[in-house]
Symmetry: D2
Subunit: 337 residues, 4 copies
C-alpha cells in the first residue's frame, strides 16, 4: 500500500535518527535543561532574529496549543478560530477542557481575517459572554492554504488594537514558508505574532515542536504550566537534539520543499486530468474531488483519507506528502488516475 | 420609566414574599434538607407524575445548567445546542469552564431538531473529536418560540437511539406550557427528557429553579457536584418555601398566563400597526422590528433591549412581560407606537 | 427542639425582610447593576475607608471563595490554608475543581502564621511543584478563634515580601470584629489583605456576602469570572437591599454582639461546670468536650453537631449561636448540663 | 561529572534505538493504531495473564497519571495518596488542574495502608466534602521502598469493599519487581489493581509507559480522554516499537536488575562506612545521610540530588542508578566516601 495518508506515517529523517544515536550516551539533566535544548533554542532565536523570545520544546502540536492557551488566558477569555482549525475540530475539546471557549467561524479557505475578529468583538459585548482574547491561526492551514504577509499583518494589527493575542500553529510551518506564493519569513512571524510554533513532527522529527513565545508578558512561568498541563518530557534532550539536526544547514526547509514539490506535482497532474479541488493549496496537503468509482479503485493501491462527500458521484479526498514521499509513488498515482 | 426590559426587574410575587415571612422564624437544617424543600419536591413529583425523579432546588438557571452538565458528562463528552442557546451565548462560557465543548447550530427559530443531532453524530466520528452526548434545548427558547410535543418527542427519540441525554432548560417553562399552540405537559417533559428545570426566577420567585432529574443513572451524588460547582445555599429552605408558594393552587401557571396574555396583546397591537417580527413568538418575549426613529422615541419612556440591527432604518427590539407587568403599560405602549 | 446547630437555621433578620418587602415593586436592571447594590457598595467603601476598592455581592461564601481564587490565580498557582479551612474541608473540592491545589497545614487553632508560608515557599522550589500564591485565612476561623492585628499584619507582610496575595474569608466577620480580644477594624482588613468578604448569610441576611477586592491588580473583569464560575444573581438587587439594611446604623455589628454574648454565656456556664473545650473561642461557635452520656441526654432537647470523638467517654460538640438565638434557650441549656 | 542524579539522564538502551532504526521506514497509521502497538499490547496482556485488559501507551508518567484520573473519576471524587507521592508533590498540581483533590497522608516509608483509606472514608462523611474514590500508590515508591503482596492485597481489599479504585504508578516497576524482598508479579498487579502502568522512561526507553486498564468499567473511551488531556502521539508506533524491544527476552527485567544491583552495592558500601539512611530501600534509589562536608566534596566529582537537610552537620542525598550506570562509577564513589 502506498501512503498518501498523512505526513506522520514514517519515523524520522535519517539525520535526526543519527543525531539521537550520536548523543545517546551523553548524560544530561532532565526536562529540557540540557545543552542541546539550549543550543537549539539559540539557533531558533537567531533564525527569527529575536533574542528576547523564549523557546520551549513541546512534545506535540496539541499539547503546544492547549498549554499555550492555558498559560496565556484568564478563565473567561476565549479563542477565535476557523471552524476547520485543529483546536476546534481535532483536539477532542482540549481547549475547552482547560476552560476556554473556542468561537469558530465558517471560512471556506480555513483562514481568519480582521472582519472575523471585529465581528466577534461586537457580538461579545459584556460580562455575560466570554471575552475574545486570542486569535488562533494555522500556517499552512488544516486545508493546505497559506497566509500572505499582508493578511497576517492585518490580523496582527487588529489584535494589537484590541489587546488581543495572535497565536500561530505551525504544525506545517516548513511547508507554508517554502510554498509558492509565500512571502512570510520566520522574523516576520516573530514580529507579527505573540507566539507561534515551528512544527517538527510533520517535517522530519520523530516528534516535537518548537514553541516560540515572543510577547514578554506571556513568558513568565510557562514551564510550570507546561508541567501541569502536558508534562515535561523527562529526557527533554531528545527534543533539543532533533531540532539541532533539523535546523542544521537548512535541512528543515529542504524537507518541506520536497513535500511541497511532490504535492504540487500531484495537484498539477490531477488538474491536468480535468479534476477540481476543494480549495487551492500550494502546500503538502491537496484536496482533489474525484468520482467515487475512481476513488474506490485507487484505494486498492493507495492509502489516503476520504475528506468529505461532494455529491452523489463525487467525493473529496486528501492526499498528503512528506519528507519521505517517493517521486515514483507520485508518478504511479498520476498514471493510475 | 416603564420596564419591558426583562422578566426579572421586579422582586417576587406577594404570595412568595408572604410565605418567606411566615416561615422566617422556623429553624431548619441547612442546604435544602428541610421540610419545605422535601414538600415542594414531592409536589413536583406529583405534578410530573414520576415518583422516581429527583428534584434539586438550584439558585439560578446558569448554575442549574452548568451543574447538570458537569454532573452528567465525562470529560470528552459534548453538548449540542442552538447558537442562540443561553449556555452558548450568555453564560460566559460556564459549560466550557467545566471542560465541555458546546457544539452550536445556527437555527432561525432557536430550536434544535433531529437533523442537527444526526449531523453532529456523523461529523464527530472518532476520538480526535469530542463525543456528542447531551442535547440542550430551552422551552420557551431564548427567542420566545416553543416546542410542540411532536418536536420534543422526535428529539427524545434520536437521543435515546444514540445513547444521548436530552436536557431542557425551563427558565421560562411556565410561559411555554401556557402558550397558545403548546401541547406539552409536565408529565410529557418527565417522559421525554433526562432532566429539565422548572424556572422560578422569571416567573414569580425572588430566585430559584427546580431541577428535575428523571433518568436514574444521572441521579447519584448530584448534591456533591452541586456543592462543588455552584455551592449549596445555606438557607436552602428559602427555595423550598418559594416553590411551595408558587405551586399552590396553580399560581405558577396563572402568573405565566398573565405574562403571555400581555405579550400577545403587545404583539397583536404592534402587528396591527403593520410592523413585522424577527420570529413568531407566542410567549412573554416578542421581537418586533421597528423604525430606528420610532425606537429612539419609545426609549424616552420605555426601557427595553435593542436586540439587533436589521437594516439602515430598522432595528429589532425585545419586549418582555412578566407576572408583574401592568395592562395599562401595555396599552400605553400600543398607543405610543 | 432547640437549635444550636448552626448560625443559618433561621431566615433573615426582620429589618432585612422589611427592606426586601419595601423595595419589592421597584423595577431595576438585573445582575447587581442597581442603585441598592451601588449604594451598599459605597457604604462599604466608606466603612473600610478605601474608595479604590471594588465591592461585589456574592450569593454565598463558597462561591465567594472559589470565584475569587479562580479570578486571582494562574493555573499553576496554589493556595495555602489551614487543614480546618472551609475551602480545604467543606467545599467539596471546589477550589481544586477550578484547577488549584490547596496546600494545607495542621494548625490546632485553625490559624496560619508566617512560618507556614515560609515553609511552603521553601518546599515548593521549582516548576515541578505548584507555586504558592494566595494565603487563605478565615476570621473568625472555622473553630471560632480570631486573628489579632499583629498576627494579620505579620501574615500580610510575609505575603507582600513574596508577591503573594492574602485573602480573608469573613463568613463570620461580624462575630470576629466584635469579639473580646479583637483589635482589628474594617479599615485594617482593607489595608492588610488583598481581598476579603463581609459575611451576611451567618449574620442576619437571608443569603449574601460582600466581597471587597482591595488590590487593584485583582479587580479587572471580576464580573466575567463571577458569571462564569457561579452565575450572577438575576435579581441582584436582593443582595444590595439586604446589605443596605444590615449596614444601617450598625445593625450588622449589633447582631454579631448578640451572638457572641450568648455564646460567651454558654461557654462560661459550661466551663463553670468543670468541662473543657477543644479550643478557646471568643466568638459564636464553641467546642465543649462533654461526657458522651451527657451529650446523648442533651440531644433529646437540643440540636447541635457532634464535632469529633475525644476518647472512650468524651466527645467534642459544637454549639453555635446567631442573631436569632434566645437567651432563655441558653439558660435552659446551662441548667440541663 | 559522574551521574547518580536520576534514571533518565541517558538516552535509550541500544536495543531500543536499534528497533527504532530498523522500523523507521515502515509506514503506519498514526496515534497508536499500528501493528507494533498492537503487538506490544498483546505481549503485555500475556505477561499479566489477563486478556481482557486494555493497554495504552502513554508518553510519560505524569500524563499517564492525570489522564487516568481524569478518565476514571467524576468531578467530586478524590484521590488518596502518600504525601511523597509523585502526583501530590511533583506534577505541579496536574491532578487538581483536572479538578480532583488529592488527599495526602504523611507516611515515613512512602506507602499507604488500609488504615489510611479507612480514616479518609470516616472523615469524608457527606456532600460538603470530596468523596474518596481512587487510591494511588507507587511501586517502587518515590523513596525507593516496595509493596509486598500482602500489603497490596490488603489495600486492594479495602478498596473493593468500599467501591474504590486502586491505581499503581509503575514508573519504576521494573526495579520493584526485581528487588530483594519483592513477592509481587505482573499477574498479581493485574489481579489486585484496577489500573497500573509499566514504566519505560526510567528503564531503558527513550520515553513511554504502558498503561494497563484492568477494570472493564474504566476502559470505555479512554482514547478520547487521552487525546483531550495529554494528546495522542502522532507517531504512536514509536511507543509500540520501544516496548516490543524492552519486553523481548526479558530485557526489561534484566535492565532493572542491573540498576538494583548497583544501587544495592552503593547502599551496602555506604552502610559499611557507618552511614545511615533516610529509609531502607532495596531498589535503584537510595537515600544516605552524610556529613555536609563529605557531600560538598563528593559534589566535585558526582552529580546527585540533595534530598533534605537532617541537622546542622548532616544531609540526606539521593543516589539513583539506571540500566546505563557503570560498575566502575559505583566503585569510585565507594572509594571516595
Amino acid at each position: 500500500m502506498i501512503f498518501f495518508r498523512s505526513d506522520y506515517s514514517l519515523g524520522g529523517h535519517p539525520q535526526v535518527l543519527e543525531a539521537l544515536a550520536n548523543t545517546n550516551y551523553e548524560h544530561w539533566d532532565g526536562y529540557g535543561l540540557d545543552d542541546h535544548c539550549f543550543g537549539a533554542a539559540d539557533t531558533i532565536k537567531g533564525l527569527i532574529e529575536n533574542s528576547g523570545a523564549e523557546v520551549h520544546f513541546m512534545i506535540g502540536g496539541t499539547p503546544a496549543n492547549y498549554t499555550s492557551i492555558s498559560a496565556f488566558l484568564r478563565p473567561h477569555e476565549a479563542v477565535l478560530a476557523s471552524r476547520s482549525a485543529h483546536i476546534y475540530m481535532h483536539e477532542t475539546g482540549s481547549v475547552e477542557a482547560r476552560g476556554h471557549k473556542v468561537v469558530a467561524f465558517d471560512t471556506p479557505d480555513g483562514k481568519l481575517c480582521p472582519a472575523h475578529v471585529k465581528e466577534a468583538l461586537i457580538e461579545h459585548e459584556d460580562e455575560h459572554m466570554v471575552k475574545p482574547k486570542l486569535v488562533y491561526v494555522s500556517d499552512s492551514t488544516e486545508i493546505g492554504t497559506i497566509y500572505t504577509k499582508a493578511e497576517l499583518t492585518a490580523l496582527s494589527e487588529v489584535c494589537r488594537e484590541n489587546s488581543m493575542y495572535l497565536y500561530l500553529d505551525g504544525a506545517r510551518l516548513g511547508c507554508a514558508l517554502t510554498a509558492q506564493g509565500n512571502d512570510l519569513t520566520l522574523p516576520d512571524l516573530a514580529a507579527l505574532t505573540d507566539a507561534f510554533y515551528i512544527g517538527g513532527t510533520k517535517n522530519g522529527a520523530l516528534f516535537g515542536e518548537a514553541l516560540v513565545i515572543v510577547n514578554p508578558e506571556l513568558q513568565p512561568e510557562f514551564r510550570y504550566v507546561t508541567k501541569q498541563q502536558c508534562g515535561l518530557l523527562a529526557k527533554g534532550r531528545l527534543l533539543g537534539v532533533q531540532f539541532e539536526a533539523l535546523l542544521k544547514d537548512g535541512l528543515y526547509f529542504r524537507l518541506a520543499e520536497h513535500s511541497n514539490r511532490l504535492a504540487n506535482k500531484l495537484r498539477d497532474g490531477i488538474a491536468a486530468k480535468g479534476h477540481g479541488f476543494l480549495v487551492d493549496s500550494p502546500t503538502n496537503q491537496i484536496f482533489p474531488i474525484l468520482p467515487i468509482k475512481l476513488v474506490e479503485k485507487l484505494e486498492e493501491k493507495y492509502f489516503f483519507y476520504r475528506w468529505k462527500p461532494i455529491d452523489e458521484n463525487n467525493i473529496c479526498i486528501r492526499l498528503v506528502t512528506s519528507w519521505g514521499s517517493a517521486e515514483e509513488d507520485v508518478d504511479s498515482f498520476l498514471q493510475d488516475i
